[in-house]
Symmetry: C5
Subunit: 330 residues, 5 copies
């Protein structure tokens, strides 16, 4: 019953004087307000600012017996009682239905429907430990600060959380959206409230990071292994090569550090970068060591070390990265 109002017969829809501060059914337990949320579009999920940008259709429905005779009418929300529901998340939303249409429509028996389209950004709280193989549950919470649990209750609308077919986001797989309601403690007020929660289940597509970051990283690490194929006498070439790989890795790390906020912990990608840096640094040390051996006339030993490293380094790389990725996907 979303967004429909049978037109009233041509009659006066003029309301009598009305105390809009008094909630409907004040004597009969809490006022139930049904809530529904359609995700019409997801425009982006911003990891740095931890925000989701979207386009939402919010529906609120409740019964106000005082409006029972006004079936088919529409009223501005300031002329009737209106649920004092707030989005608890920090947000910057524009209401699209403003001007002539920020109205409720009344159906038979005083059933009141309010439909609003909200576009903008909402704070999400990301756990990025498994980045870029992460999956986030982004939750929007609604509550009424001024009405307690015995005065106001949210009720999730049946089939009230829906997702549009086509979304304008490329780097996340929006797998679904659910809605629920429960009484719980509101930490900012330190009182219990009825809280409606809309949860968007989003899994990151890691294709971009695989192709644009992890593949180049692999090539840079693989290039550092060429020092095991350069003869130990060609000492400077080896060191120059390893150092160049090293500096490229560091530049890479700087570039990628702006993809995420300034975290105080390591993501999966950070562990991968860390392992890569360690391996390239080890290759640099190996080149220094075999070069010193060669200068001291122990070339055979140097070449044996080089030979062993040709297998040990790639194996260590595969094991470390494999382990990191498997841990984070599991």
């Amino acid at each position: 019953a979303i967004a429909q109002a049978t037109p009233a017969p041509v009659q006066a829809c003029a309301l009598p004087a009305f105390d809009t501060n008094v909630r409907p059914g004040a004597g009969d337990g809490p006022t139930d307000v049904e809530i529904g949320m359609i995700v019409a579009d997801v425009l982006g999920i911003d990891d740095v600012n931890q925000q989701i940008e979207g386009d939402f259709l919010m529906v609120l429905e409740w019964t106000d017996k005082r409006l029972a005779d006004f079936g088919g009418c529409r009223f501005p929300i300031t002329q009737v009682w209106f649920p004092p529901a707030n989005l608890l998340n920090s947000s910057n939303l524009r209401a699209t239905y403003t001007q002539a249409r920020n109205q409720v429509s009344v159906a038979e028996g005083g059933r009141v429907t309010y439909l609003q389209r909200l576009t903008g950004t909402i704070s999400s709280y990301h756990d990025l430990h498994k980045f870029p193989f992460d999956r986030q549950q982004i939750t929007m919470e609604f509550a009424s600060p001024s009405l307690g649990v015995d005065e106001f209750q949210f009720v999730p609308m049946v089939d009230g959380a829906r997702l549009a077919d086509t979304l304008n986001i490329e780097d996340w797989d929006i797998r679904g959206v659910t809605i629920s309601a429960a009484n719980s403690m509101l930490s900012t007020l330190q009182e219990e409230r009825s809280i409606a929660a809309v949860t968007i289940d989003a899994a990151r597509y890691y294709g971009f990071f695989l192709f644009k970051i992890i593949t180049p990283l692999t090539l840079i690490v693989a290039m550092s292994w060429t020092v095991f194929w350069i003869p130990p006498q060609k000492f400077e070439a080896q060191i120059g090569f390893a150092a160049t790989s090293m500096l490229t890795l560091i530049a890479f790390q700087l570039t990628t550090s702006s993809i995420l906020p300034r975290l105080n912990y390591f993501t999966t990608l950070d562990w991968m970068l860390f392992g890569a840096t360690l391996l390239v640094f080890a290759a640099l040390l190996e080149a220094l060591y075999t070069g010193t051996l060669a200068r001291r006339g122990r070339e055979a030993q140097a070449q044996r070390i080089d030979y062993v490293c040709r297998f040990v380094f790639p194996a260590a790389f595969v094991l470390f990265w494999g382990g990191t990725v498997i841990t984070s996907i599991r």
Copy 2:
């Protein structure tokens, strides 16, 4: 009949009390609303956010018999019935005709015209597989969420979709704009609605990408071929050269990755970059191999390989890139 109102004789244009919630002709089938859209300017098409920024003139026309006696008058849209048409795309549009002119004008017989100029961004949904040789059909959809197909019908205006002569966009060829209307399922409401669709046909000019990205790429790849002309004994020079080409390619890839959103698939340009990277990496391996051969005294064989590669690599390059481009243009 766009944007014209014959002035009413100096008389009172005062409307009687009027139920603006009742649509005109409520008893005689759906209310027909003609829609026209003039694209006055396209300011930009943003691939990263998948948005078009434009300047649009929207015209709505319908007949309201209740206004038949008010030919030549103008009324604010809140004083008459106004079609509850919404842009379904996520958008951020400013209405330019606000203040004194957010009005409808009424002609003979209650024919009502509404003209509004809308400036801002509208979500578009790009398919970038063929980038930068792609062509996009950017569609703006209008529907009335609150009125069903038996209550409300859009009718495309004759010659109702037009394009201005001069557009402020440099990187796209806006080839035309069309308008159509049809009943179809609205996924967000799961009900059928009359949907008007304005489609802008835009083909990307690939000149910029050809000159600024593909040409430098070609030069970098071509530079990696100099290792086939350097004698195999000059082992370090070869490897240094190939590695520099490699790192330049990777830096290039990083720089260009901000042109597009974080896609989960390969565009044509990605395939070209991928092919280029493979070829440069192959040149690096070739240098390592011929260098090892030369150190082991098999210089003749090394030189033969170098000689063959002088032809094989350019040929592979031309074939791979040619195939990729031809596939994506077709």
Copy 3:
């Protein structure tokens, strides 16, 4: 007669009922509206978005006999007939005189003056073929979509286009501003309208581009010529040198490509970059060729070629760049 209103004697400025939709002098040919535009500041000209950001004082003057008895009064624009003039360019302007002063002032005989200060961005349409030696005519066009040429005519005010003494723009020389009016076809409406055009004549100062782009470019190209002074035996040094120049040029090109929009054509600077790239690539090929000659024992020939190139390359460079610049300045 800009911005002056002799105060009315203390009397009632209350207007009688008035049809503000009827234009003044409706029976005596078109209504003439004088228009003036003072460019109080130019804050910037943005090549990438093709916008001018400025601060403008717009004056409109017309005669409304119905206001003849109200000399010295001021009225809000919604209480009188107001010319339905629109800026045709896409724009994002803020009116500074809002609140208490979005008013017209009436002088003797019903002469009405409206003064508004507009700040913001206006679309301009740049032809960048001669960049950075280009000069742009930036035009703002005003028209009244709803009134035809027999109903409404713009008249340029005498001395109506002026420029402030100090402007806040550093990279353009704003040489003047002119105003004119003419009847012409409005492509978006496909009807004839009276169009007022304010044209700002702006010549780009190319000092910045000369010092910050063209001079470093010249140094990079000149550095590539050192390969002609390095003996051909020092083959690797030559190639390394030429390749470094090459890669620096490519990085340079990437950096400068964000100064302009993604054009489908070559600017003068692009031609200069193109010529520079060709010459550096030629120097790389020369190094490869003389190196091969030297390895084959034909050192004398290699040195002769080097010697000739010391003169040919600088000459080619001067000729190509000189020709390009002269063509674009002419």
Copy 4:
């Protein structure tokens, strides 16, 4: 008693004529206004612009005897006396409770409560000498410019400063928030006022800077020490190596300089960078000196110097950085 209003019986809440300019209890000393501030979210702390972006719930409570008979009513803030309290910090805040709810609610005895949610940026004044090991006390100050200390007094609400459980900020540890009030001189007015101060205690998490800046820096410095392991005869390799480390450091410094505003003093990180640069420059000079010694046949001395430096440089590095960090943490 935050955000609660017992509903008034269905009666007229219509106020009589009321001079809202007169403060309550004007004859009995200053008007006391209780103030509370809940930090619902901290979205970011911006060092460059010295701003905190947050989401705040502000509560004001006072007694107005003239409203004693209106317990349970709600009034728009323009219809009653409202404390003329201003945020003294520069700020750009949006009030979330606008439209229908920018109201005060009145309880028994004329106790008036006002609740507002404010979202946006507030100027903070950072002392960055110890960056990135710094801790900031971010203070928001409220005062009433138009009422002196004998007319208006702020009173901190009991338990009036609270912090939400989950905050949307990753790089700072928000340790608490306190509220206080005192009379002090207002420098802009040069008069005494009652000033309420809300102080947010924020300690920066330095993990990000440790992993992404200080670790790479350490690697770059450590790489410059390889010149002590390269034999002095390999003069060019040494110098090339030291110079590359040097240039990498300088590039690093450029990149990191945009993290902070343009300070006129050195932060802890600047001292660390400065020490690192000095050490790398010293390694470059050492390479030049030992190279010159080796060319003059004093290779033994050169190698002794190299040998000593292998220990002196790391020790100097550890001592300098350790001292810097310890000083700034203490």
Copy 5:
């Protein structure tokens, strides 16, 4: 007398009908309006856009005998005569005291006070020839376009220009603020007006530029001098070294070019960069020349030149930079 209003006795503050277009004291010479400006904060000075971002408290005071009986009242600015004063600079300011407090307060004898807090950006006009050793006088000018010098006069308030103790800007030393008024020609209107000028005296702190730009520059130039210590036989090392310094300088120049707008003239920093580039280029030529001499067997001469340059280059550097800086500071 800033920002104080003794409360009026509880009486009707209702104004009689009033022609707010007529200025007070119209028969007795020009109306004097006192103006004061408190700079509550300076948030930033933006060289690129030539803007100052600040937080200002503006006070206006004048006498309106018609309000003599309303001492202690407050009126909205639209209900009284209000000075038509405009900020002439282009600006984007938000008025903080909006809603309920965009009012004037009236004291004994019709003395009217208006206090407004303005936050935002104001165009400043910088002379950057001496950058980064420059000092700017940033002027905000106010005038009344519609009232001539015989109708309206600004009078600077005694002690009317003040500065807050703590400012939120790090890179400028705000040394003071002054206010003055004078009649002068308004170039946009070509008529004389009374103009009030508020001037902020700002000296740039050059510490940031000294530490982050000039010091690295010095190191890069000093590194180019190592070519004088490398023996002339090591020809390639010398040239490679000089070229690397050269390219680093050019990259440096590119990076720093975004600190300032695109100027058509050289700043002090540009002269320093220019001198540095010339010296590094000269070092490159010296290396080419001594290398050629060495190849031709004139090693002694080459070494003599190297020896001389070890002193000449640093001396030239110190003289050039010293001269440039002294000239610009003087």
